[in-house]
Amino acid sequence: MRNLRLNSDSRRAARGDRAGALIRTGRILSRLGYLDEQFCQVEDLQDEASPNFAEEVATLFFKDSARLISNVEQALEKYPKDFNRWDAYMQQLKGSCSSIGASRMKSECMSFRDYCGQGNVEGCMRSFHKVKREHGALRQKLEAYFQLLRQAGPAGAATRPGM
C-alpha cells in the first residue's frame, strides 16, 4: 500500500513538473515577445471537436511561411532592387505572422518593408536575415511548447498558461 502511494505521489509530482514546465514555457514565449495576444485567441478556438487546433494552425503557418520566405529569397536574387516586388512578398508573410501572433517575426517583416520604402538594399538584406532567424527560433520554441502540451495531456491543456 505504501509503495502504491509512493507511485501515485511520483506520478502526481511528474504531472506537476510537466504542468510547471508548460506554464514556464508559455510565459517565456510571451515575455520574450515571440508571441502576442493573438496566439491566445488561436488557442481559445480549441474545443472538444478541435483539441489540437492551435498546433494545427501553427503547422499551417510554418508550411506557409517557409514558402513565403522562399519567395522573398528568390525575389531578392532574381529581381535586384525591385522593392515593390520584395515588399509585396513580405506583406504576405507579415500578414501570416499577424494571424498567429508571431510578434517578433512580424516586427522584422515590418523593418524589411520600411527598408523597401527607403530603397535600402543593405537594410533589406539585414532585416531579411533577421526574419529567417526569428522564424527558426519561433519554430523551435513552439515545437517545444506543443510537445510539453502533449505530455501534459488534457489536465495540462486545462491549465494552459495565459500568455
Binding site: Q38, Q41, V42, D44, L45, D47, S50, F53, E56, V57, L60, F61, K63, D64, Q91, Q92, K94, G95, S96, S98, S99, I100, G101
Partner: protein, 162 residues
C-alpha cells in the same frame, strides 16, 4: 406546420431552388429546400489564399454555428456559388492573386442570382480608400485582420436581421 429556421441562419429564397413556405403565427419564413424536400442548411463561403487565415475564420464562423465552405480563390468561390443552394454570406480576403476580394465582390453584385448575398471583405491593411471602395461597391462590412470573435459576432448578428 412549424417553421424550423436553424440558429444563425439567414434564410434566402433563390429563384433556382424549390422553396417551401411554412407559417408560424403571423411570420412567414422561406426555408430553401433541395429537390428531395429536405431543408438546405445555410452556409458561409470563406475565401482566402492564406491557409492560416482560412483555418481561423472557419473556426470563428463554426463557433457561431455556421456551416462553412472555405476556398483559396475568388474563382473557386464563384464555382461553389454556382452549385451551393443556400449561401448566407461570403467573407473574403481583399488581397488575393488573380482575383482580388474586390473583383469577387463586383462579380457577385453584378449577378442577378448572387447580388443579394452579403459580402464581407477582410484585409490586413487599413487603407481608407480601399475600405470606401468596397463599401461603395456594396460590401456589407470591412474587417481588419486578424479577425476577432467580436467581428464575427457583429456581422452574424447583422445577417440575422437581413
Amino acid at each position: 406546420m412549424e417553421v424550423t429556421a436553424a440558429a444563425g441562419a439567414c434564410c434566402r429564397g433563390r429563384g433556382d431552388h424549390h422553396a417551401g413556405e411554412e407559417e408560424r403565427s403571423s411570420a412567414k419564413v422561406v426555408v430553401p429546400v433541395g429537390s428531395d424536400g429536405a431543408e438546405v442548411e445555410p452556409c458561409v463561403i470563406a475565401v482566402d489564399d492564406s491557409s492560416v487565415d482560412r483555418a481561423l475564420v472557419t473556426a470563428l464562423l463554426r463557433r457561431s454555428k455556421y456551416r462553412v465552405t472555405a476556398v483559396d480563390s475568388g474563382k473557386r468561390a464563384l464555382e461553389i456559388l454556382g452549385s451551393e443552394p443556400n449561401v448566407s454570406m461570403i467573407i473574403t480576403d481583399y488581397w488575393m492573386p488573380e482575383m482580388t476580394g474586390y473583383d469577387l465582390l463586383k462579380k457577385v453584385k453584378e449577378s442577378s442570382k448572387l447580388k443579394q448575398i452579403p459580402v464581407v471583405i477582410m484585409s490586413s491593411e487599413n487603407v481608407p480608400t480601399r475600405i470606401t471602395r468596397c463599401l461603395e461597391e456594396g460590401a456589407e462590412d470591412f474587417l481588419l485582420k486578424p479577425v476577432r470573435p467580436s467581428d464575427i459576432s457583429r456581422i452574424t448578428t447583422r445577417m440575422l436581421l437581413h
